[in-house]
Protein backbone atom coordinates (compact mmCIF):
# COMPACT_ATOMS: atom_id res chain seq x y z
CA UNK A 1 0.00 0.00 0.00
CA UNK A 2 1.38 3.37 -1.01
CA UNK A 3 1.72 5.86 1.82
CA UNK A 4 3.50 8.65 0.01
CA UNK A 5 3.17 9.41 -3.65
CA UNK A 6 5.19 12.14 -5.29
CA UNK A 7 4.08 13.07 -8.80
CA UNK A 8 6.13 15.27 -11.07
CA UNK A 9 7.31 17.82 -8.53
CA UNK A 10 9.59 20.67 -9.58
CA UNK A 11 11.11 23.49 -7.61
CA UNK A 12 13.40 26.34 -8.51
CA UNK A 13 15.06 29.01 -6.42
CA UNK A 14 15.90 32.33 -8.01
CA UNK A 15 15.79 30.81 -11.47
CA UNK A 16 17.95 27.81 -10.56
CA UNK A 17 16.05 24.56 -10.98
CA UNK A 18 16.77 22.42 -7.93
CA UNK A 19 14.28 19.62 -8.65
CA UNK A 20 12.82 18.74 -12.04
CA UNK A 21 9.78 16.60 -12.56
CA UNK A 22 10.53 14.03 -9.88
CA UNK A 23 8.13 11.16 -9.18
CA UNK A 24 8.30 8.24 -6.78
CA UNK A 25 6.34 6.42 -4.12
CA UNK A 26 7.03 4.95 -0.71
CA UNK A 27 4.98 1.99 0.46
CA UNK A 28 3.93 0.72 3.84
CA UNK A 29 6.59 -1.44 5.43
CA UNK A 30 9.34 -0.69 2.99
CA UNK A 31 12.53 1.30 3.06
CA UNK A 32 13.22 3.41 0.00
CA UNK A 33 16.84 4.46 -0.31
CA UNK A 34 17.04 8.07 -1.41
CA UNK A 35 20.42 8.66 -2.97
CA UNK A 36 22.19 11.36 -4.81
CA UNK A 37 25.43 13.34 -4.83
CA UNK A 38 25.71 16.51 -2.78
CA UNK A 39 23.62 19.29 -4.23
CA UNK A 40 21.49 16.94 -6.33
CA UNK A 41 18.22 18.21 -4.87
CA UNK A 42 17.75 15.71 -2.05
CA UNK A 43 17.21 18.18 0.77
CA UNK A 44 14.86 20.26 -1.38
CA UNK A 45 12.82 17.16 -2.23
CA UNK A 46 12.68 16.10 1.42
CA UNK A 47 11.62 19.57 2.52
CA UNK A 48 8.78 19.47 0.01
CA UNK A 49 7.65 16.07 1.31
CA UNK A 50 7.74 17.30 4.91
CA UNK A 51 5.75 20.34 3.86
CA UNK A 52 8.36 22.90 4.84
CA UNK A 53 8.44 24.29 1.31
CA UNK A 54 5.92 24.01 -1.49
CA UNK A 55 6.69 22.61 -4.94
CA UNK A 56 6.26 24.95 -7.90
CA UNK A 57 4.60 22.17 -9.85
CA UNK A 58 3.47 18.64 -9.18
CA UNK A 59 1.69 16.86 -6.41
CA UNK A 60 2.58 15.19 -3.14
CA UNK A 61 -0.06 12.84 -1.91
CA UNK A 62 -0.27 11.10 1.40
CA UNK A 63 -2.57 8.10 1.78
CA UNK A 64 -3.69 6.92 5.18
CA UNK A 65 -6.58 4.83 6.38
CA UNK A 66 -7.97 4.85 2.86
CA UNK A 67 -8.14 8.66 2.64
CA UNK A 68 -5.74 10.74 0.57
CA UNK A 69 -4.67 14.29 0.93
CA UNK A 70 -1.98 16.73 1.82
CA UNK A 71 0.86 15.75 4.07
CA UNK A 72 -0.34 15.52 7.66
CA UNK A 73 2.48 16.78 9.84
CA UNK A 74 1.32 14.71 12.79
CA UNK A 75 1.77 11.47 10.88
CA UNK A 76 5.30 12.03 9.65
CA UNK A 77 8.56 11.75 11.48
CA UNK A 78 11.66 13.56 10.34
CA UNK A 79 15.31 13.33 11.26
CA UNK A 80 16.90 16.24 9.42
CA UNK A 81 20.47 16.24 8.27
CA UNK A 82 20.86 19.66 9.86
CA UNK A 83 20.91 18.59 13.48
CA UNK A 84 20.01 20.81 16.34
CA UNK A 85 18.03 20.93 19.55
CA UNK A 86 17.27 23.52 22.21
CA UNK A 87 20.61 23.62 24.02
CA UNK A 88 19.17 25.17 27.18
CA UNK A 89 16.26 22.74 27.57
CA UNK A 90 16.18 19.42 29.38
CA UNK A 91 16.13 16.15 27.46
CA UNK A 92 12.78 14.88 28.71
CA UNK A 93 11.09 18.29 28.42
CA UNK A 94 12.29 18.58 24.83
CA UNK A 95 10.94 15.18 23.89
CA UNK A 96 7.59 15.80 25.60
CA UNK A 97 7.29 19.14 23.79
CA UNK A 98 8.18 17.76 20.36
CA UNK A 99 5.87 14.77 20.86
CA UNK A 100 3.14 17.17 21.97
CA UNK A 101 3.44 19.01 18.66
CA UNK A 102 2.78 15.65 17.02
CA UNK A 103 -0.43 15.31 18.98
CA UNK A 104 0.58 13.10 21.91
CA UNK A 105 -0.76 13.91 25.36
CA UNK A 106 1.78 14.94 27.99
CA UNK A 107 1.50 11.74 29.99
CA UNK A 108 1.70 9.50 26.94
CA UNK A 109 4.64 11.51 25.59
CA UNK A 110 6.45 11.17 28.92
CA UNK A 111 5.85 7.45 29.09
CA UNK A 112 7.10 6.85 25.56
CA UNK A 113 10.03 9.24 25.90
CA UNK A 114 11.26 7.42 29.00
CA UNK A 115 10.98 4.03 27.37
CA UNK A 116 12.86 5.22 24.27
CA UNK A 117 15.55 6.81 26.42
CA UNK A 118 15.85 3.46 28.18
CA UNK A 119 16.25 1.71 24.86
CA UNK A 120 19.02 4.11 23.83
CA UNK A 121 20.72 3.78 27.20
CA UNK A 122 20.10 7.43 28.00
CA UNK A 123 17.65 7.04 30.88
CA UNK A 124 19.87 8.78 33.42
CA UNK A 125 20.21 11.77 31.11
CA UNK A 126 16.48 12.53 31.05
CA UNK A 127 16.77 15.48 33.41
CA UNK A 128 20.02 16.87 32.04
CA UNK A 129 20.23 19.79 29.68
CA UNK A 130 20.75 19.02 26.00
CA UNK A 131 24.00 21.02 25.93
CA UNK A 132 25.55 18.50 28.32
CA UNK A 133 25.04 15.66 25.87
CA UNK A 134 27.60 14.49 23.32
CA UNK A 135 26.85 14.84 19.63
CA UNK A 136 26.00 11.17 19.28
CA UNK A 137 23.60 11.34 22.23
CA UNK A 138 21.90 14.38 20.73
CA UNK A 139 21.47 12.44 17.54
CA UNK A 140 19.71 9.71 19.48
CA UNK A 141 17.41 12.30 21.05
CA UNK A 142 16.54 13.59 17.61
CA UNK A 143 15.93 10.11 16.39
CA UNK A 144 13.54 9.55 19.29
CA UNK A 145 11.79 12.81 18.43
CA UNK A 146 11.30 11.51 14.89
CA UNK A 147 9.71 8.21 15.93
CA UNK A 148 8.10 8.81 19.32
CA UNK A 149 4.62 9.32 17.82
CA UNK A 150 4.91 6.17 15.67
CA UNK A 151 4.67 8.02 12.35
CA UNK A 152 3.28 6.43 9.21
CA UNK A 153 6.00 8.01 7.11
CA UNK A 154 9.50 8.35 8.48
CA UNK A 155 12.09 10.45 6.68
CA UNK A 156 15.65 9.88 7.82
CA UNK A 157 18.33 12.13 6.40
CA UNK A 158 21.81 10.70 6.99
CA UNK A 159 20.81 8.91 10.21
CA UNK A 160 24.15 7.14 10.60
CA UNK A 161 26.58 9.98 10.09
CA UNK A 162 28.69 10.60 13.15
CA UNK A 163 27.62 7.44 15.00
CA UNK A 164 30.00 4.78 16.23
CA UNK A 165 29.55 1.24 14.82
CA UNK A 166 27.69 0.00 17.89
CA UNK A 167 25.13 2.76 17.66
CA UNK A 168 24.91 2.41 13.89
CA UNK A 169 23.84 -1.17 14.51
CA UNK A 170 21.31 -0.05 17.10
CA UNK A 171 19.81 2.49 14.68
CA UNK A 172 19.74 -0.16 11.98
CA UNK A 173 17.94 -2.59 14.24
CA UNK A 174 15.32 -0.03 15.21
CA UNK A 175 14.81 1.10 11.61
CA UNK A 176 14.17 -2.55 10.65
CA UNK A 177 11.69 -2.93 13.50
CA UNK A 178 9.77 0.15 12.39
CA UNK A 179 9.69 -1.19 8.87
CA UNK A 180 8.30 -4.47 10.13
CA UNK A 181 5.64 -2.55 12.04
CA UNK A 182 4.52 -1.11 8.72
CA UNK A 183 6.13 2.33 8.72
CA UNK A 184 7.00 3.66 5.27
CA UNK A 185 10.60 4.83 5.46
CA UNK A 186 12.52 7.17 3.21
CA UNK A 187 16.21 6.79 3.97
CA UNK A 188 18.69 9.23 2.58
CA UNK A 189 22.32 8.30 3.03
CA UNK A 190 25.74 8.47 1.45
CA UNK A 191 26.74 5.24 3.14
CA UNK A 192 26.06 2.79 0.34
CA UNK A 193 26.74 -0.29 2.43
CA UNK A 194 24.02 0.79 4.89
CA UNK A 195 21.63 1.43 2.03
CA UNK A 196 22.32 -2.02 0.62
CA UNK A 197 21.70 -3.60 4.00
CA UNK A 198 18.44 -1.83 4.64
CA UNK A 199 16.70 -0.75 1.49
CA UNK A 200 14.23 -2.64 -0.65
CA UNK A 201 14.19 -0.12 -3.42
CA UNK A 202 16.29 2.88 -4.27
CA UNK A 203 15.82 6.21 -5.90
CA UNK A 204 18.79 8.09 -7.28
CA UNK A 205 18.53 11.78 -7.98
CA UNK A 206 21.17 13.67 -9.92
CA UNK A 207 21.07 17.31 -11.00
CA UNK A 208 17.47 17.51 -9.80
CA UNK A 209 16.34 14.61 -11.99
CA UNK A 210 15.50 11.00 -11.31
CA UNK A 211 18.21 8.81 -12.82
CA UNK A 212 17.56 5.46 -11.14
CA UNK A 213 14.46 4.12 -9.51
CA UNK A 214 13.40 0.63 -8.65
CA UNK A 215 14.16 -2.62 -6.92
CA UNK A 216 17.68 -2.74 -5.53
CA UNK A 217 18.31 -6.24 -6.83
CA UNK A 218 16.89 -5.42 -10.25
CA UNK A 219 19.02 -2.31 -10.50
CA UNK A 220 22.07 -4.34 -9.61
CA UNK A 221 21.05 -6.85 -12.22
CA UNK A 222 20.61 -4.20 -14.87
CA UNK A 223 23.68 -2.16 -14.10
CA UNK A 224 26.06 -4.64 -12.70
CA UNK A 225 28.56 -6.56 -14.60
CA UNK A 226 29.88 -9.51 -12.66
CA UNK A 227 33.00 -9.14 -10.62
CA UNK A 228 35.06 -12.32 -10.25
CA UNK A 229 37.61 -12.89 -7.51
CA UNK A 230 39.72 -15.96 -8.15
CA UNK A 231 42.52 -17.64 -6.22
CA UNK A 232 44.35 -19.82 -8.61
CA UNK A 233 47.39 -21.97 -9.23
CA UNK A 234 49.09 -22.73 -12.51
CA UNK A 235 49.04 -20.74 -15.70
CA UNK A 236 47.08 -17.50 -15.81
CA UNK A 237 47.69 -16.74 -19.46
CA UNK A 238 44.09 -17.71 -20.21
CA UNK A 239 43.03 -14.66 -18.24
CA UNK A 240 45.69 -12.34 -19.62
CA UNK A 241 44.66 -12.88 -23.21
CA UNK A 242 40.92 -13.21 -22.65
CA UNK A 243 38.75 -10.73 -24.57
CA UNK A 244 35.68 -11.48 -22.45
CA UNK A 245 37.07 -9.98 -19.27
CA UNK A 246 38.33 -6.54 -18.35
CA UNK A 247 40.02 -4.69 -15.52
CA UNK A 248 42.19 -7.69 -14.73
CA UNK A 249 44.35 -7.30 -11.65
CA UNK A 250 46.64 -10.06 -10.48
CA UNK A 251 48.42 -9.91 -7.16
CA UNK A 252 50.02 -12.99 -5.71
CA UNK A 253 47.70 -15.89 -6.43
CA UNK A 254 44.58 -13.70 -6.52
CA UNK A 255 43.09 -12.48 -9.77
CA UNK A 256 40.27 -9.96 -9.84
CA UNK A 257 38.44 -9.04 -13.01
CA UNK A 258 35.12 -7.99 -14.46
CA UNK A 259 33.16 -10.05 -16.94
CA UNK A 260 32.34 -8.13 -20.10
CA UNK A 261 28.70 -7.34 -20.79
CA UNK A 262 26.72 -10.35 -21.89
CA UNK A 263 29.18 -12.88 -20.52
CA UNK A 264 27.42 -15.30 -18.19
CA UNK A 265 29.42 -16.46 -15.18
CA UNK A 266 28.44 -20.07 -15.67
CA UNK A 267 29.63 -20.21 -19.26
CA UNK A 268 32.78 -18.38 -18.38
CA UNK A 269 33.73 -20.72 -15.56
CA UNK A 270 33.07 -23.84 -17.65
CA UNK A 271 35.49 -22.49 -20.24
CA UNK A 272 38.39 -22.12 -17.85
CA UNK A 273 41.11 -24.51 -19.07
CA UNK A 274 42.69 -27.20 -16.90
CA UNK A 275 46.03 -25.39 -16.75
CA UNK A 276 44.37 -22.76 -14.57
CA UNK A 277 43.49 -24.38 -11.27
CA UNK A 278 40.69 -22.81 -9.31
CA UNK A 279 41.37 -22.74 -5.57
CA UNK A 280 38.68 -20.29 -4.56
CA UNK A 281 36.21 -18.35 -6.64
CA UNK A 282 33.57 -15.73 -5.95
CA UNK A 283 31.27 -14.08 -8.48
CA UNK A 284 29.58 -10.94 -7.23
CA UNK A 285 27.50 -8.07 -8.35
CA UNK A 286 29.32 -4.78 -7.93
CA UNK A 287 28.46 -2.89 -4.78
CA UNK A 288 25.90 -0.11 -4.96
CA UNK A 289 28.80 2.25 -4.44
CA UNK A 290 30.17 1.41 -7.90
CA UNK A 291 26.78 1.78 -9.57
CA UNK A 292 26.31 5.14 -7.89
CA UNK A 293 29.68 6.39 -9.06
CA UNK A 294 29.20 5.04 -12.58
CA UNK A 295 25.74 6.59 -12.94
CA UNK A 296 26.66 9.95 -11.48
CA UNK A 297 29.96 10.28 -13.33
CA UNK A 298 28.68 8.88 -16.57
CA UNK A 299 25.59 11.08 -16.54
CA UNK A 300 23.58 8.00 -17.32
CA UNK A 301 19.93 8.61 -17.97
CA UNK A 302 18.28 5.24 -17.90
CA UNK A 303 15.15 4.97 -15.82
CA UNK A 304 13.64 1.55 -15.51
Amino acid sequence: MTVLEVRGISKSFDGVQAVRDVSFAVNRGEILGFLGPNGAGKTTTIRMIIGIIQPDRGEIQFTLDGGSGEVDKERIGYLPEERGLYADAKVLDTLVYLAGLKGLSRSEARRRALSWLERFDLAEWARRKIEQLSKGMQQKIQFIAAVIHRPDLLVLDEPFSGLDPVNQDLFKEIIRELKDEGVAILLSSHQMNRVEELCDRIFLIHCGRRVLYGDLSEIKEAHGEHIVRLRYAGDASFLRTNQRIKNLRISGDWATFVLAKGVEPDAFIRNIPRELVIREIAVERPPLHDIFVAVVKGGENGTP
Partner: protein, 289 residues
Amino acid sequence: MALRETKTKLGKVVAWEFRRAVMNKGFVIMTVLLPALIGLVILIYGLAEGRGASSVPSESLPPFLIAVFLALILFVGAFISGVIVFYGVLKEKASRVVELVLSSVSAKDMMAGKIIGLGLAGLIQAIVWAVLAYFAARRFLPITLAGLSPMQLVTYPLYFVFGYLLVATLYATAASTMKDVHSGGVQGMVGLIVYLPMVFLKILVEHPELPWVRAAGFFPPFTPSVMMIRMAVTEVAWWEVALSLALLAGTVFLLTRFAAKVFEVGILMYGKSATLREIWRWGLRSSRG
Protein backbone atom coordinates in the same frame (compact mmCIF):
# COMPACT_ATOMS: atom_id res chain seq x y z
CA MET B 1 -5.68 21.44 8.86
CA ALA B 2 -8.43 22.40 11.22
CA LEU B 3 -8.23 25.81 12.79
CA ARG B 4 -8.51 24.38 16.27
CA GLU B 5 -5.52 22.19 15.71
CA THR B 6 -3.47 25.16 14.55
CA LYS B 7 -4.53 27.08 17.61
CA THR B 8 -3.53 24.37 20.07
CA LYS B 9 -0.20 23.96 18.30
CA LEU B 10 0.45 27.68 18.55
CA GLY B 11 -0.50 27.46 22.22
CA LYS B 12 2.05 24.69 22.75
CA VAL B 13 4.78 26.71 21.06
CA VAL B 14 3.89 29.78 23.13
CA ALA B 15 3.96 27.76 26.36
CA TRP B 16 7.31 26.23 25.44
CA GLU B 17 8.92 29.55 24.56
CA PHE B 18 7.51 31.19 27.69
CA ARG B 19 8.74 28.40 29.91
CA ARG B 20 12.22 28.45 28.47
CA ALA B 21 12.33 32.24 28.81
CA VAL B 22 11.34 32.31 32.49
CA MET B 23 13.52 29.33 33.44
CA ASN B 24 16.51 31.18 32.06
CA LYS B 25 19.06 32.22 34.66
CA GLY B 26 19.22 35.78 33.38
CA PHE B 27 15.47 36.15 33.61
CA VAL B 28 15.33 34.84 37.17
CA ILE B 29 18.06 37.24 38.24
CA MET B 30 16.52 40.23 36.51
CA THR B 31 12.92 39.54 37.48
CA VAL B 32 13.12 37.90 40.89
CA LEU B 33 16.48 38.22 42.61
CA LEU B 34 17.48 41.75 41.69
CA PRO B 35 14.04 43.31 42.32
CA ALA B 36 13.80 41.39 45.59
CA LEU B 37 17.19 42.70 46.63
CA ILE B 38 16.30 46.27 45.76
CA GLY B 39 12.97 45.90 47.51
CA LEU B 40 14.75 44.63 50.61
CA VAL B 41 17.17 47.55 50.59
CA ILE B 42 14.28 50.01 50.30
CA LEU B 43 12.46 48.27 53.12
CA ILE B 44 15.46 48.31 55.45
CA TYR B 45 16.20 51.91 54.53
CA GLY B 46 12.62 52.83 55.27
CA LEU B 47 12.65 51.06 58.65
CA ALA B 48 15.87 52.82 59.61
CA GLU B 49 14.44 56.19 58.57
CA GLY B 50 11.28 55.65 60.51
CA ARG B 51 7.88 55.33 58.95
CA GLY B 52 7.46 58.98 58.14
CA ALA B 53 7.04 60.10 54.55
CA SER B 54 9.94 61.78 52.83
CA SER B 55 10.73 65.40 53.38
CA VAL B 56 10.89 66.36 49.72
CA PRO B 57 8.66 69.37 49.15
CA SER B 58 5.80 68.42 46.90
CA GLU B 59 5.80 71.67 44.94
CA SER B 60 9.16 70.87 43.39
CA LEU B 61 7.83 67.69 41.86
CA PRO B 62 6.05 67.82 38.52
CA PRO B 63 2.83 65.77 38.80
CA PHE B 64 3.39 64.10 35.43
CA LEU B 65 6.56 62.39 36.60
CA ILE B 66 4.95 59.07 37.37
CA ALA B 67 3.42 58.87 33.91
CA VAL B 68 6.79 59.58 32.31
CA PHE B 69 8.39 56.89 34.43
CA LEU B 70 5.69 54.42 33.50
CA ALA B 71 6.01 55.28 29.83
CA LEU B 72 9.76 54.76 29.96
CA ILE B 73 9.54 51.43 31.77
CA LEU B 74 6.88 50.13 29.42
CA PHE B 75 8.71 51.29 26.34
CA VAL B 76 12.14 50.05 27.37
CA GLY B 77 10.59 46.78 28.56
CA ALA B 78 8.93 46.23 25.20
CA PHE B 79 12.11 47.11 23.38
CA ILE B 80 14.34 44.81 25.41
CA SER B 81 11.90 41.92 24.93
CA GLY B 82 12.10 42.58 21.20
CA VAL B 83 15.86 42.32 21.33
CA ILE B 84 15.54 39.03 23.23
CA VAL B 85 13.38 37.71 20.38
CA PHE B 86 16.14 38.75 17.99
CA TYR B 87 18.77 36.71 19.81
CA GLY B 88 16.36 33.82 20.33
CA VAL B 89 15.72 33.46 16.62
CA LEU B 90 19.40 33.82 15.78
CA LYS B 91 20.31 31.15 18.31
CA GLU B 92 17.73 28.73 17.00
CA LYS B 93 18.82 29.33 13.45
CA ALA B 94 22.44 28.70 14.44
CA SER B 95 21.57 25.52 16.36
CA ARG B 96 19.62 24.20 13.34
CA VAL B 97 16.69 23.14 15.47
CA VAL B 98 14.48 24.96 12.99
CA GLU B 99 14.08 22.18 10.48
CA LEU B 100 12.98 19.72 13.13
CA VAL B 101 10.36 22.09 14.51
CA LEU B 102 9.12 22.98 11.03
CA SER B 103 8.31 19.32 10.45
CA SER B 104 5.59 19.80 13.09
CA VAL B 105 4.47 23.43 12.95
CA SER B 106 4.31 26.09 10.26
CA ALA B 107 6.95 28.80 10.11
CA LYS B 108 4.23 31.30 10.92
CA ASP B 109 3.30 29.52 14.16
CA MET B 110 6.94 29.11 15.06
CA MET B 111 7.53 32.83 14.73
CA ALA B 112 4.26 33.85 16.41
CA GLY B 113 4.87 31.40 19.25
CA LYS B 114 8.27 32.86 19.93
CA ILE B 115 7.04 36.45 19.83
CA ILE B 116 4.02 35.81 22.05
CA GLY B 117 5.84 33.53 24.50
CA LEU B 118 8.76 35.88 25.01
CA GLY B 119 6.36 38.80 25.08
CA LEU B 120 4.50 37.32 28.05
CA ALA B 121 7.79 36.85 29.86
CA GLY B 122 8.72 40.43 29.03
CA LEU B 123 5.36 41.63 30.29
CA ILE B 124 5.94 39.99 33.65
CA GLN B 125 9.34 41.61 33.82
CA ALA B 126 7.96 45.06 32.96
CA ILE B 127 5.20 44.73 35.58
CA VAL B 128 7.67 43.69 38.27
CA TRP B 129 9.93 46.62 37.51
CA ALA B 130 7.07 49.08 37.27
CA VAL B 131 5.73 48.03 40.67
CA LEU B 132 9.19 48.10 42.18
CA ALA B 133 9.97 51.51 40.70
CA TYR B 134 6.70 52.83 42.05
CA PHE B 135 7.40 51.72 45.60
CA ALA B 136 11.02 52.80 45.40
CA ALA B 137 10.06 56.25 44.17
CA ARG B 138 7.38 56.59 46.83
CA ARG B 139 9.94 56.22 49.57
CA PHE B 140 11.59 59.42 48.45
CA LEU B 141 8.97 61.30 46.47
CA PRO B 142 5.33 62.07 47.18
CA ILE B 143 4.10 60.13 44.19
CA THR B 144 0.64 58.67 43.85
CA LEU B 145 -1.08 56.72 41.14
CA ALA B 146 -3.64 59.52 40.98
CA GLY B 147 -1.25 61.20 38.56
CA LEU B 148 -2.46 58.76 35.89
CA SER B 149 -5.56 59.56 33.88
CA PRO B 150 -8.08 56.86 32.95
CA MET B 151 -7.14 57.40 29.32
CA GLN B 152 -3.52 56.57 30.15
CA LEU B 153 -4.51 53.50 32.10
CA VAL B 154 -6.38 52.21 29.05
CA THR B 155 -4.00 53.23 26.28
CA TYR B 156 -0.58 52.62 27.83
CA PRO B 157 -1.05 48.82 27.81
CA LEU B 158 -2.15 49.05 24.17
CA TYR B 159 0.92 51.07 23.21
CA PHE B 160 3.02 48.57 25.11
CA VAL B 161 1.51 45.55 23.37
CA PHE B 162 1.57 46.97 19.85
CA GLY B 163 4.95 48.58 20.40
CA TYR B 164 6.33 45.24 21.50
CA LEU B 165 4.75 43.40 18.56
CA LEU B 166 6.27 45.93 16.19
CA VAL B 167 9.80 45.68 17.60
CA ALA B 168 9.65 41.91 18.07
CA THR B 169 8.35 41.29 14.56
CA LEU B 170 11.00 43.54 13.05
CA TYR B 171 13.71 41.80 15.03
CA ALA B 172 12.42 38.26 14.41
CA THR B 173 12.28 38.93 10.67
CA ALA B 174 15.71 40.52 10.67
CA ALA B 175 17.22 37.62 12.59
CA SER B 176 15.67 35.04 10.28
CA THR B 177 17.45 36.57 7.31
CA MET B 178 20.87 36.88 8.94
CA LYS B 179 23.71 34.43 8.57
CA ASP B 180 24.74 34.70 12.23
CA VAL B 181 25.06 37.14 15.11
CA HIS B 182 28.24 38.54 13.66
CA SER B 183 26.97 39.30 10.20
CA GLY B 184 25.55 42.60 11.44
CA GLY B 185 24.54 44.88 8.63
CA VAL B 186 21.26 46.64 8.31
CA GLN B 187 19.30 43.77 9.90
CA GLY B 188 20.65 44.27 13.42
CA MET B 189 19.73 47.95 13.31
CA VAL B 190 16.17 47.59 12.10
CA GLY B 191 14.62 47.61 15.57
CA LEU B 192 16.51 50.73 16.55
CA ILE B 193 14.24 52.88 14.43
CA VAL B 194 11.60 52.28 17.10
CA TYR B 195 14.06 53.44 19.73
CA LEU B 196 15.09 56.61 17.90
CA PRO B 197 12.59 59.01 19.60
CA MET B 198 14.19 58.22 22.97
CA VAL B 199 17.26 60.11 21.79
CA PHE B 200 15.06 63.20 21.71
CA LEU B 201 13.43 62.50 25.07
CA LYS B 202 14.29 65.95 26.44
CA ILE B 203 12.56 67.68 23.55
CA LEU B 204 9.59 65.33 23.85
CA VAL B 205 9.11 66.20 27.50
CA GLU B 206 9.77 69.93 27.18
CA HIS B 207 8.03 70.69 23.88
CA PRO B 208 5.31 68.07 23.38
CA GLU B 209 3.26 70.44 21.21
CA LEU B 210 5.85 71.14 18.50
CA PRO B 211 4.28 70.35 15.12
CA TRP B 212 6.92 67.82 14.15
CA VAL B 213 6.69 66.11 17.53
CA ARG B 214 2.94 65.78 17.04
CA ALA B 215 3.50 64.47 13.52
CA ALA B 216 6.04 61.92 14.76
CA GLY B 217 3.32 60.45 16.97
CA PHE B 218 1.50 59.26 13.87
CA PHE B 219 4.54 57.55 12.35
CA PRO B 220 3.94 53.98 13.60
CA PRO B 221 7.52 53.08 14.59
CA PHE B 222 7.66 56.26 16.70
CA THR B 223 4.10 56.06 17.99
CA PRO B 224 4.55 54.09 21.25
CA SER B 225 7.35 56.23 22.68
CA VAL B 226 6.19 59.61 21.38
CA MET B 227 2.52 59.19 22.30
CA MET B 228 3.12 57.77 25.77
CA ILE B 229 5.51 60.61 26.63
CA ARG B 230 3.25 63.26 25.11
CA MET B 231 0.25 61.95 27.02
CA ALA B 232 2.32 62.08 30.20
CA VAL B 233 3.29 65.73 29.88
CA THR B 234 0.42 67.36 28.03
CA GLU B 235 -3.23 67.08 27.07
CA VAL B 236 -3.56 65.02 23.90
CA ALA B 237 -6.81 65.10 21.95
CA TRP B 238 -8.64 61.78 21.96
CA TRP B 239 -8.69 61.62 18.16
CA GLU B 240 -4.91 61.85 18.10
CA VAL B 241 -4.69 58.90 20.46
CA ALA B 242 -7.26 56.90 18.50
CA LEU B 243 -5.70 57.65 15.13
CA SER B 244 -2.16 56.86 16.27
CA LEU B 245 -3.31 53.58 17.81
CA ALA B 246 -5.25 52.64 14.67
CA LEU B 247 -2.25 53.36 12.44
CA LEU B 248 0.02 51.42 14.76
CA ALA B 249 -2.31 48.42 14.93
CA GLY B 250 -2.78 48.45 11.15
CA THR B 251 0.96 48.56 10.61
CA VAL B 252 1.52 45.68 13.00
CA PHE B 253 -1.13 43.67 11.17
CA LEU B 254 0.43 44.24 7.74
CA LEU B 255 3.94 43.79 9.05
CA THR B 256 3.23 40.41 10.64
CA ARG B 257 1.84 39.13 7.33
CA PHE B 258 4.88 40.39 5.45
CA ALA B 259 7.24 39.11 8.16
CA ALA B 260 5.75 35.60 8.23
CA LYS B 261 6.55 35.16 4.54
CA VAL B 262 10.08 36.49 4.92
CA PHE B 263 10.65 34.32 7.99
CA GLU B 264 9.47 31.20 6.16
CA VAL B 265 12.19 31.56 3.52
CA GLY B 266 14.90 33.19 5.58
CA ILE B 267 14.93 30.76 8.48
CA LEU B 268 15.94 27.85 6.23
CA MET B 269 18.65 29.75 4.39
CA TYR B 270 22.09 29.17 5.79
CA GLY B 271 25.47 30.53 4.83
CA LYS B 272 24.57 34.04 3.79
CA SER B 273 22.53 37.00 4.89
CA ALA B 274 19.69 38.05 2.64
CA THR B 275 19.86 41.40 0.88
CA LEU B 276 17.13 43.96 1.42
CA ARG B 277 15.92 43.35 -2.13
CA GLU B 278 15.54 39.62 -1.47
CA ILE B 279 13.68 40.29 1.78
CA TRP B 280 11.35 42.65 -0.05
CA ARG B 281 10.65 40.07 -2.74
CA TRP B 282 10.04 37.23 -0.26
CA GLY B 283 7.70 39.35 1.79
CA LEU B 284 5.59 40.42 -1.16
CA ARG B 285 5.33 37.10 -2.98
CA SER B 286 1.82 35.83 -3.10
CA SER B 287 0.66 33.67 -0.26
CA ARG B 288 0.87 29.98 -0.93
CA GLY B 289 -2.28 28.04 -1.39
